[in-house]
Amino acid sequence: MKKRKIFWIYLIFISLLYISLFFFIKSKIDISGSFSVNPPEKKIYLTDLPEVMRLKLNEPFLLDIDYKLGYGFASNTDLLKINKDTGEISFTPANAGEYPVIISAFKDINDYEIKLVRFVVE
């Protein structure tokens, strides 16, 4: 009986540890790995964008986003310029730091896609 109790305590502890590790890794680790394109060699589908993109300070960054035909592009920030028709992004980071940016491909209010990309400027 005592062994079973110890087992359950152990199991709950291991579970909590796993949960903590999960969120720690999720918040601190670049899950998809670094991604930097300059100049863009090809179009990158919006949903294929990595969650983290690492950029170099004061170096122009170019990115060409692709999505389904008939969609326009926009973002939630003036930090970077995005061509609403072609999806081209130009961005020259002037300050180091991390910038979460949401990029959208929009057709109508019932048909759109958004993607959050964290630009890490180093």
Binding site: S15, E51, A74, I102
Partner: protein
């Protein structure tokens, strides 16, 4: 045991899934808003107040409003904007999970007045005014008036009409409602198409009611040819409102914006009458209209009295002629009369001017020698006349004289030589041209002494012609301050003009041997431009009895 294990897995999985924020209260679909009516919404989501962030994306590229990043509050003042879309985003800053919803905004734009302005009603014909408006959404508009005394009728889709009869205008005056104002409202009735708020625009309208303009009778008037006639028409106009326009149906009658009529009747205004009448009568139609369209007019009888103008005689220069030659002079084109033909007369016995043409042409003989004060008189058809006097000097042909038409061409840069130009007469003191000064201003002096003429007192006429030429032979110099000393009885023809100068002296001015023609400053400034070679040609002739 197995159940607990399953429950543990569910808890672990749920903790991951529930990390994504989700909306609790958010607008959706199409938001219909009205211009200038504020729109507000408080978006609520799970986790608000912790690491949750609200943000917006406007797919059209224009940001129309913002959202409180932490509280999700939207405050939007709709303007004249096209329909647009917006994506509302939730961001969990802990794990960067996101959620979103998209909606549309359609703005009902306010109707606008096109022509509403204050008006003046003239209290004689009633009043009607069509008010036109426009609506950017092509809504049909409903017109209304706050004041029941000024009702307005809606004329679909975008017009309204105020119409008041003369009796209604009089009623308003009786009620003391003059001027009268009301707010005119236009309503786009947007509620009927699903908008919660109608688009409403109001504007104050004021109506003034005035009596019609009237025009008191003008008395028959008389104007005189060539004399100013003035009459204040404005003083005859009653109930003037605003800017008044005056008009007469004859172009020579001018009435200015102040209502002052003024004109000077010319001979042409009388010529149109029968030739034998002294007056010409015009039936003039004079009209006045105010800026609100009230007008009045009347016939006005204007009599213009003709005045005979005396002929005009041009001045005649003194003349010289020599025995044995014809004296020819045509004065016909130098006397004019406004009314028509003139006739010419003279006071000299030995010739007669042609009465019709005004020309004089006769052969000078020895019996005519002398100085004759000649008067030419010009009469018009009504015996009004002018006259002009000149001195006609007739000299004998055996008198000593200077060679006629001798020209002395002088290059002003060189010294002058004169003696040989007058071989028949010794002029020991003569100095014809002296050029002094630098290269910029040159002056020519012409002097000669008449002492050696033998009998200076017998000299009755001397004609000195000075002609200033440039190298191309045309007159192009300025001559100033032509002056002559020692002779009191000298006249100048064309004095002050460029070109030919003629000096005529009579014997009465020549009294002693020191008398001289001293024509100074005659070529002043004529040679400022030294790049052009100029010459002074002197043509001197003198006749001595």
């Amino acid at each position: 045991m197995r159940f607990l294990l399953f429950l543990l897995i569910i808890v672990i999985f749920s903790s991951y899934v529930l990390a994504a924020p989700f909306f609790i209260n958010v607008p959706s679909g199409t938001q219909k808003v009205t211009q200038e009516y504020p729109y507000s919404f408080d978006v609520n989501a799970s986790g608000e107040g912790t690491d949750l962030l609200y943000d917006l994306i406007f797919p059209g590229g224009t940001d129309y409003f913002a959202i409180g990043s932490s509280n999700g509050i939207i405050n939007y003042n709709p303007e004249n904007e096209n329909p647009f879309n917006v994506i509302i985003i939730l961001i969990n800053l802990t794990d960067f999970s996101i959620n979103s919803t998209a909606l549309s905004f359609v703005v009902n734009r306010l109707p606008q007045f096109t022509n509403l302005e204050d008006k003046v009603a003239i209290n004689d014909t009633g009043f009607s005014y069509t008010i036109i408006a426009s609506d950017a959404d092509a809504d049909s508009l409903i017109f209304s008036s706050d004041n029941p005394l000024i009702p307005i009728t809606t004329i679909f889709p975008t017009s309204g009409e105020i119409s008041l009869t003369q009796a209604e205008l009089n009623s308003l005056i009786t009620l003391g409602e003059n001027p009268i104002s009301t707010n005119i409202t236009i309503n786009d009735n947007a509620n009927s198409t699903g908008f919660p708020i109608d688009g409403i625009t109001k504007k104050l309208f004021t109506l003034n009611i005035n009596d019609p303009i009237s025009f008191n009778p003008l008395a028959e008037s008389v104007a005189v040819e060539d004399q100013l006639f003035a009459l204040n028409i404005s003083s005859y106009v009653i109930n003037k409102i605003g800017t008044i326009t005056y008009a007469a149906n004859f172009s020579f009658i001018n009435i200015n914006s102040l209502g002052i009529m003024s004109f000077i009747p010319s001979h042409n205004e009388v010529l149109n009458s029968l030739n034998n009448e002294e007056n010409k009568t015009y039936n003039v139609n004079i009209s006045v209209i105010d800026q609100y369209g009230s007008s009045a007019s009347q016939k006005w009888i204007l009599n213009i009295t003709r005045v005979n103008d005396i002929p005009v005689c041009d001045q005649i220069d003194n003349k010289v002629a020599v025995v044995g030659t014809n004296f020819v002079f045509d004065y016909g084109n130098n006397a004019t009369d406004e009314e028509g033909a003139v006739t010419f007369f003279d006071n000299v016995a030995f010739f007669n001017i042609n009465e019709t043409t005004g020309s004089i042409d006769f052969l000078v003989n020895e019996t005519m020698v002398g100085i004759h004060n000649t008067i030419i008189t010009v009469n018009d058809t009504e015996n009004a006349q002018c006259s002009e006097q000149f001195q006609l000097t007739l000299v004998g042909n055996n008198a000593p004289r200077f060679p006629k038409n001798r020209s002395l061409n002088v290059n002003p840069i060189e010294d002058l030589y004169v003696d040989s130009d007058f071989p028949n007469i010794n002029f020991p003191d003569q100095k014809f041209i002296q050029i002094s000064g630098g290269n910029t201003i040159r002056r020519g002096y012409f002097q000669f002494n008449l002492a050696n003429l033998g009998n200076p007192a017998a000299l009755i006429a001397a004609i000195l012609k000075l002609t200033i030429l440039n190298s191309s032979g045309s007159f192009d110099v300025s001559v100033h301050n032509l002056s002559v000393s020692n002779f009191s009885n000298i006249t100048f023809n064309n004095a002050g003009e460029t070109g030919l100068y003629e000096v005529l002296a009579s014997s009465s001015g020549i009294t002693n041997s020191t008398d001289m023609f001293d024509v100074s400053n005659i070529v002043k400034e004529c040679l400022e431009d030294t790049t052009i070679e100029r010459f002074l040609a002197i043509n001197l002739s003198m006749r001595v009895l």
